[in-house]
Amino acid sequence: MTHTLHRQGTVENLKDDYVVFTMSAKKVNAKGSAVKIKRFFEILEKHNAVNYGDMKTGNSFNSSRDEIYKNIKDTSIVHFVVTEKREVAAILNELAEAHLGTSVVVSGLIDDTEWACKKAGLKMHTVEFSGGIYGRLDTLPEKEVLELTTMCGHGMVAANLVRDMVRKIKKGKKSLEDAAQELARPCQCGVFNPKRAEKLLRKMV
């Protein structure tokens, strides 16, 4: 699934939102790839990630680092979320030197990703855009809520949970940081960006 695509937002508020992940191809290079994916994890964990995870185990807010790392399998998809394009460039540079051989995908602003690729001496191979949302648009939650819920492409972050967190922040029952982390918990893959969520929640309260 395109679980990191369709993150709603403005160019300005997407500037601190990049997901870098790796996976092997079932019919090509999956066999024995767990070791490479673990190496990817070891490289990425040094790069100031604000969340990470593998959907087979969980994310950094509902599982421990060791649980996630130990459970990595050949068919795992391991994700890290970082907040700066310079960090993406540094990551890609290190991954290119590591020659792991599993596929690597960056999800974020395309222009910034292209910049990061060039910095690392890489060329974009394949791109995927969001072509927008169609159909019964009248059933969608408000735009501000969508900017938060769409950070989990599997739809695990409920619109009502966002509204509940906003209510709790306003009543002083939750801090912005705690609310953002509560929203990050259901996103099993660890692709929800809690730092961006804090900024978006601040505008809503």
Partner: protein, 246 residues
């Protein structure tokens, strides 16, 4: 999924965690002597397990049920931890462009399209997805064989799904296809038409291999069709090996 009415204390903690708003909260009714409690609307529940995994029930009253065919499809298309037998990967789709550097699934001269029905966060009956599969099949467009939804097609000549599954509600279901770029406009027109017939939403995925000179031909086609194109997206950076050679 169900909530045990005997043990539920009616705290309401679970209610906001349901992406489908399928947990109904019943207020205390003193006249009838009814205490507050939460109940899952099984018709709207997509078996995504978000409520159970939220781990917010103080009495462990949220319980997993044994899911039989065809209800088990709800979980298959909604719980990201469920692994489809056909794809061997968790989630509702395929590897699509994520491994394109080694699989060559999307080559120069082709574009990939994913119509993600029910996304973002609205959900869909599989009957809505059938409107797309029928339209694409009628146009002679080949649907991605690895996709879990494609595997539910009963009639390959019409794109009709198995009748027993079409009323099942899921968080999202993806119709995946690939066409020569010359057919892009025809495909986009068809997608816009189906959008008007749907009783849900869909998010549109558009995929293209970057040419050797750095051009992305898909962008011209999107602009020509007057479609929205996001500033953000996904980029396969070409580190997979062995690299697929055209």
């Amino acid at each position: 999924m169900l909530i045990d009415s005997q043990t539920c204390k009616g705290c309401g903690n679970c209610v906001p965690y349901c992406p489908m708003e399928a947990i109904i909260f019943h207020e205390k009714d003193s006249a009838k002597g009814v205490m507050p409690y939460a109940e899952i609307d099984s018709n709207e529940c997509v078996e995504c397990f978000a409520c159970l995994r939220a781990d917010v029930c103080p009495t462990d009253s949220i319980r997993e049920e044994e899911l039989k065919w065809p209800r088990v499809l709800r979980r298959a298309f909604s719980d990201p931890l469920y692994v489809h037998k056909g794809t061997d990967i968790p989630g509702r789709g395929t590897e699509e462009m994520k491994t394109n550097d080694v699989t060559g699934r999307f080559r120069e001269g082709f574009i990939g399209v994913g119509v993600e029905l029910g996304r973002p966060g609205i959900g869909t009956r599989l009957s809505e997805a059938e409107k797309l599969t029928k339209r694409f099949v009628a146009m002679g467009i080949e649907l991605e064989p690895q996709n879990p939804l494609t595997q539910l097609i009963a009639n390959k000549k019409t794109g009709e799904l198995r009748q027993e599954v079409i009323q099942e509600k899921v968080l999202s279901a993806i119709v995946e296809a690939k066409v020569p770029i010359e057919r892009a406009q025809e495909l986009f027109r068809a997608i816009k038409l189906v959008a008007k017939e749907l009783n849900t939403v869909f998010s549109l995925d558009l995929i293209c291999k970057v040419q050797k000179d750095g051009r992305i031909p898909l962008i011209e086609e999107i602009n020509k069709a007057g479609l929205y194109i996001s500033a953000n997206g996904k980029v396969n950076v070409g580190l997979g090996r062995p690299r697929y050679k055209e």
